[in-house]
Amino acid sequence: MKDQLEIIMNESQRQPKWYHNLKYLMVGLFFGVLFVKAEVISWFRIQEMFRLQTFHMYGIIGSAVVVGMISVWLIKRFRITTISGEQITFTDKKFNKGQIYGGLMFGLGWGLTGACPGPLFAQIGIGATVVIVTLISAIAGTWVYGRFKDHLPH
């Protein structure tokens, strides 16, 4: 009985209560507004990007990466921890051929729908309800990948 209780307590410590996730909802909220206001979720802006007709999207992605890099460097340099004092960890990504084949497929989809996964959620939010179909199809695509993962070259 005591053991069981301990397991439950450890579980609840490891898995924070659902409302601890509300802070991520707030970050997402801010992010969604940003996506719309910067026109990142615009199909037209994505078309302009791939036709080299605007610097806008390149400026956004480029400056986001630079700010991200500096932030990560600062976190590592000054051993900045999370708000609960936990050490921040980074996992190295391993190369596999999926990054080439899957990357090309994703790129084709990006050029077609004008949306990556994040913008899909924001596009539904702005009232383009038909994008729910695109989202469901993307979930189906993810599922099919999971189902046939072992048969694909990696």
Partner: protein, 187 residues
């Protein structure tokens, strides 16, 4: 103030703010920025079907679902209160090219001449929404991430596989927009 916010935000404001999402998520709870994983978690929650790829403790990843739910609500807020009153400023070359294919409505962020419930069962509409969505979902998981996970988080942490993925995203996009999309729009 509200007037300024209502304007479209320039890249040098929006880009750095997007970049700040990386440290925000790390400092809030040691979370790596990534959005496409949410699609995997939805599969794991709803239709795991005993597939090993979907057998994991998705409850630990719930934060990601809250994050995308936030993006959805952010879209609602932006559209309801912060919408840009003026039409979007597009490159005239793009407007001219799209008009050849009958795309003349530039009032929304999605091309309503192609992406709407009415067009879902037309051939170009079906290819775009159903086919495009499938490619996005399949491709992003195959590549192990999307623009947020690879292009922003991956490059920020100097992961060279992410650079490979990002270059491939761009190549795929160029091929689609310049050489395949015109044929789809002609259907």
């Amino acid at each position: 103030m509200l007037e300024i916010i209502r304007q479209p935000w320039p890249w040098y404001v929006a880009g750095p703010l997007i970049g700040l999402t990386v440290p925000a998520l790390l400092i809030l709870g040691n979370k790596s920025f990534g959005i496409s994983s949410s699609l995997r978690h939805i599969c794991a929650m709803c239709i795991p079907a005993k597939i090993p790829f979907f057998q994991y403790d998705w409850k630990k990843e719930l934060w990601n679902m809250f994050f995308v739910l936030g993006i959805f609500f952010g879209g609602i807020i932006a559209a309801a209160f912060l919408a840009n009153p003026a039409p979007m400023q597009l490159n005239p070359a793009l407007i001219k090219e799209l008009s050849i294919y009958g795309i003349t409505d530039f009032s929304s962020l999605v091309p309503v001449d192609l992406v709407s419930w009415d067009k879902l069962f037309t051939l170009p509409g079906f290819i775009m929404m159903v086919g495009g969505g499938f490619l996005v979902g399949f491709g992003t998981r195959y590549a192990g991430g999307c623009t947020s996970g690879h292009a922003i988080m991956g490059l920020s942490t100097l992961q060279w596989p992410s650079l490979v993925a990002t270059v491939c995203f761009m190549i795929g996009g160029f091929i689609m927009a310049n050489w395949i999309l015109p044929f789809i729009l002609m259907l």
